[in-house]
Symmetry: C2
Subunit: 441 residues, 2 copies
């Protein structure tokens, strides 16, 4: 069987099948499993990539029935039971699990907006966001034109869900506390940080009280919170929100997800947002051998609404499908019908402030942040070393506002070239030369 | 005054002037000071970038007379006392310190070889080397052609000095011990690792006994050591050593340094290798206001040979010039004539094995490695957190062979574009578009 994607859902499938007879090929375009909930902390220099990602090969080292391939699936052919790959030979399957996750959606403006408003889905995205933010402030420090300087000192975060709220609060602290004393010409306590939410309140999945708390906590930190403010335009120098133009060098896009392209090749079962409508057992209608789990699946919760894109839900779905396949292979009784559990709602707003709803009780402030931290740290896939290292970083931040690496690290021209080259294999030389020539311009 | 370069030499100059009247502009093309001696450990996944680099701004936070600019110096005009920059206005100086370090030299084959044989001078280089190595093994795991597979499993390190020896030993362990159990189709214990040295022995600065010890320690680990073997050709699929062709997907270039281009603009005082001939006080002849220190300077030791490119020597030179400038500004007596000290010789070969010469005594094996580790850890600029974190990683490696992050992290196409864009400022759109278009090919 083939599993596409080694995120929370895919890894849960594989783990549930570890002592089964299934011979599994696990395909991912990255060599690491990523703990996405902490990605915003990499973007804001609190954590380093190695702390929130683990090599897939080391995670399946003790599972002799799993082989890992670092490739990208480009198309699924349900009738031929084949996954077409970006390079090398295609993969035939008897059973297929699509756990490809979601990617950022720009609501139909991909080609114009994606290049200016950074999504936050991969380690590369987080490093890019960090570089972009730090470089904008470096430019501001040397800029003599006040208009350009103000633009370089402005950050706009689009999206008032948990990710948008968390990254806005963290950027605000990073800028006003950690970085401010580093600069001589500019005063980063005057940096403009704007959180733009299209709906009427932040954290819409939480109670109104929590939404109001989050907004006022951010405002106390000097964040401008714009509610009921849909983004109508994004370009290289800023965003337009309704009729208001905000000039900003750094725009982060934390709203909107869609299925990744390969899931769209599943044909008529694909919703407009690229997620796949599945049956109760997560199989594609008419194809009991093909399952879709995690963010790639269009799953409806007991409240009739799409289930939230949470790690815990993806893991639960993956575990269920793994057990189902295991039972089927062993001719055992199938597990009971899948039921979505109600995950605890917890969000972090800024340094050690959060909101949570736990067993019907509302928790606010530091206790909620602590709950957020512990719940996520417990779920972190990666072992004791990474957890200790993260705890040490958090503790240092709690006490000193210091952060580990405010580093701008970029592969050189050579590096970009070499990577492109490595993917193509050592025989191709023509493309390389022209690429390199253009990169030099 | 202006200091170009925030490496060991440049930072030592600035530190020596911290309580002087000098108003210093410190220019660097990176935003971080890098602890280069540990760079090979980032390339081999033992350490992470944030552990061996510190933001320049945070290092000078307590020095109100220092301002930092993230820009690149492209030319020095001695007669106009001006440094021409890659962007923004030029910098006029009364006193100039050039501490630009060295870059990899391919002995006149830059244009053909540099794209295939990775140097190791920056964090970007280290990340690129790591990605390249890991991706070659991933390709090998899926390759059906035995010739290509063997090539993907071959690493050639060119240069038998301390860096070449250290990275060869570390790659050998990384490949044969840490990674071997991760792969199912290939046996990385059979990976071919070749160390190529043009001269007759490894570690030529050490005694012959140490050279022989290093060679046999590497050979015991399965490394092929080629002595008296000058590289005559490098291309995308391997290297030619004398008449022997070695097919290799990964080639690291740890030999040969030269001054960086900006130092070459100092005119008639520049040696063919791009370093600058200086007087006893490190000033450029005829220009008592312009100093060159560290690897950028062509300095001759008491033995009549060029001094080695060591952190401790660069720091000593920088400190001296800083004191000299400080005394001159305060009209105090100038410091005594500079004398190069004799640094202790210490090199690491592989996991906890090294060689050292200390006060005329020869030390070999674990004690020498310990000396290497402690000497360097003490010199690390970055504070207690980074040191503790490095110690924890080393301890883990000592006990388990585990390494923190064997991650392939690459900025996306978007990232590459965005960075190029960010450097140009938000107004330029034409270049961006064409660049992006080509990157997509």
């Amino acid at each position: 069987m083939v599993v596409i994607g080694a995120g929370f859902a895919g890894m849960a499938v594989v783990r549930a099948l570890r002592s089964s007879d299934a011979e599994i090929t696990l395909v991912d375009r990255n060599n690491h499993h990523l703990f996405q909930p902490f990605l915003f902390q990499v973007a804001t220099s609190i954590l380093e990539p190695a702390e929130i990602a683990a090599p897939i090969r080391s995670l399946v080292r003790e599972m002799p029935n799993v082989r890992v391939e670092l490739r990208e699936a480009t198309r699924i052919d349900l009738s031929r039971r084949t996954v077409v790959m970006n390079e090398g030979s295609d993969l035939a399957y008897d059973i297929l699990v699509v756990a490809t996750g979601a990617q950022t959606s720009y609501f139909g403006h991909e080609s114009e907006w994606a290049q200016h408003a950074l999504g936050l889905k991969s380690l590369g995205d987080a490093i890019t966001a960090r570089n972009k933010l730090l470089k904008a402030f470096e430019r501001a420090e040397m800029e003599s034109d006040p208009k350009k300087q103000a633009r370089d000192m402005t950050v706009v975060v689009v999206g008032g869900g948990p990710t948008g709220v968390a990254i806005t609060g963290t950027i605000s602290e990073f800028t006003r506390r950690t970085l401010a004393s580093d600069f001589r010409n500019i005063d980063l306590r005057q940096a403009r940080i704007v959180l733009v939410q299209s709906g009427p309140r932040l954290l819409p999945a939480f109670s109104e009280r929590h939404s109001a708390y989050a907004a006022s906590a951010l405002q106390r930190q000097g964040v401008e919170v714009r509610l009921g403010a849909p983004v109508t335009h994004v370009d290289a120098t800023g965003v337009t929100v309704g009729d208001e133009r905000i000039e900003a060098a750094t725009v982060l896009w934390c709203t909107g997800v869609q299925g990744v392209p390969v899931a769209r090749t599943l044909g008529g079962h694909v919703k407009p947002n690229g997620t796949v409508a599945v049956q109760n057992d997560f199989s594609v209608p008419g194809h009991p051998e093909c399952f879709v789990v995690g963010d790639a699946a269009h799953a409806i919760g007991p409240d009739g609404r799409p289930v939230p894109g949470l790690a815990s839900i993806a893991q639960q779905q993956g575990r269920y499908v793994g057990k189902l396949i295991s039972a089927r292979l062993a001719n055992r009784a199938l597990p009971n019908r899948y039921e979505t559990f109600t995950p605890s709602k917890v969000a972090t707003i800024s340094r050690h402030v959060g909101v949570a709803e736990f067993r019907g009780r509302s928790i606010i402030g530091f206790p909620a942040w602590l709950m957020w931290g512990l719940l996520h740290l417990r779920a972190l896939t990666g072992g004791g070393h990474a957890k200790l290292s993260i705890l040490a970083n958090w503790l240092r931040l709690l006490v000193t506002y210091r952060r580990s690496g405010r580093l701008i690290v970029e592969p050189s021209e050579l590096a970009t070239h070499q990577e492109g080259h490595a993917q193509k294999g050592p025989d191709d030389t023509t493309t390389r030369v022209s690429r390199r020539a253009v990169l030099r311009n």
